[in-house]
């Protein structure tokens, strides 16, 4: 007598009551905008203050670009890597 073939559990069915938060990661993507604004504004602002203080002109662009890079890195680190 042959064993009845074991069917794989169907992906659909009643939702698991302990499923956690299945859509949290996906919804977190909306937060990326806030990070991408924070970086250039914060470090651009620091650059502006340094420029005012030291009488230079290159800290603003450096701050904006550096802040953007930091923001991108953070977004990648938070949402783009498996921790």
């Amino acid at each position: 007598m042959s064993e009845p073939e074991q069917l794989p559990t169907p992906p659909t069915g009643p939702p698991d009551p302990d499923a956690g938060h299945p859509r949290m990661e996906e919804a977190y993507m909306w937060n990326a905008v806030a990070y991408l604004i924070s970086g250039p504004v914060l470090f651009g602002g620091i650059g502006w203050a340094l420029d005012q203080w030291l009488g230079t002109r290159f800290f603003i662009p450096a701050g904006i670009v550096g802040g953007m890079a930091l923001s991108l890195y953070l977004v990648w680190f938070r949402y783009g890597t498996q921790q």
Partner: protein
């Protein structure tokens, strides 16, 4: 409110077309200055009354086989409860936040839809103060539950995700603090405000412009352009309905992610 004539409609004495401006959104109905009763204020109160009446009326005699009203209420409630609160905050903690998220969603949705529903036709959220007030509620909630759960010091420490190289900790901490305390609430309020404000201004331009071209301009081409403007106004009104729903959903979704972040071990 209903019979409010748009101040931007062209005057009959041929004064030319006046484009709608931001000033058109300030519409005091009674009194002026800081204690004025304005049109958005009245619309907001109207929406609260309507929502309360509708929710009570459709759920007071809840039946196993729901009627149309109960079906709609349960559909919206289920969408927020399961689709937003449970799926994002998680099965363990979500229930106590459902009332907040549901109230936020319904309030914003009805007020947004008022932007195109005659005879109200005023999106309350196009006055920045109202999105700011709603954002403040969310802001207090997610910081409060986060600080209450782990304490003030650990709350700040947890802002930075673990596993980063050590030298980058300080700049990332600054970045996270700015994001959590300034950029997040700012974008939350501005996104809702900007979408409603810009959408309504766009409709104003096409409708008042179409009216001017059709009735106050000379020449068949101008009148044809007026018809085109009305067609655009119709298309954009449909589009605006979509945006209004979407923005109410996004606001609720983001509020849920902020709460979920405060409840998670790492943000």
């Amino acid at each position: 409110m209903i019979l409010h004539v748009l101040p931007s409609l062209a005057t009959a004495d041929g004064g030319g077309y006046q484009t709608p401006t931001t000033a058109d959104f300030y519409q005091p109905l009674w009194n002026d200055g800081p204690f004025a009763v304005t049109r958005p204020g009245v619309v907001l109160m109207l929406s609260v009354g309507l929502i309360a009446w509708y929710l009570i009326a459709t759920t007071r005699k809840a039946a196993i086989v729901p009627g149309k009203g109960q079906w709609l209420t349960e559909g919206i409630y289920g969408f927020i409860r399961n689709g937003v609160a449970r799926d994002i905050i998680g099965t363990k903690d979500f229930l106590r936040f459902v009332p907040l998220l549901f109230s936020l969603f319904v309030l914003i949705l009805v007020n947004n839809l008022f932007g195109v529903i005659p005879p109200v036709q005023y999106p309350t959220m196009s006055r920045i103060g109202i999105p700011i007030a709603l954002t403040l509620v969310v802001y207090v909630v997610y910081h409060y539950i986060g600080i209450k759960r782990v304490g003030l010091f650990a709350y700040f420490k947890n802002l930075v995700p673990g596993g980063l190289p050590g030298w980058i900790f300080l700049p990332i901490l600054f970045l996270e603090i700015i994001t959590f305390f300034i950029t997040r609430p700012l974008t939350l309020a501005l996104r809702l405000f900007g979408n409603m404000f810009a959408g309504h201004l766009l409709l104003l331009v096409f409708i008042t412009g179409g009216e001017y071209l059709l009735l106050h301009s000379a020449g068949p081409f101008m009148k044809l352009a007026g018809v085109g403007a009305f067609v655009m106004a119709f298309v954009l009104t449909i589009f605006e309905l979509l945006i209004e729903f979407l923005q109410a959903w996004v606001f609720t979704l983001l509020a849920a992610t902020y709460i979920a972040g405060s409840l998670a071990d790492e943000h």
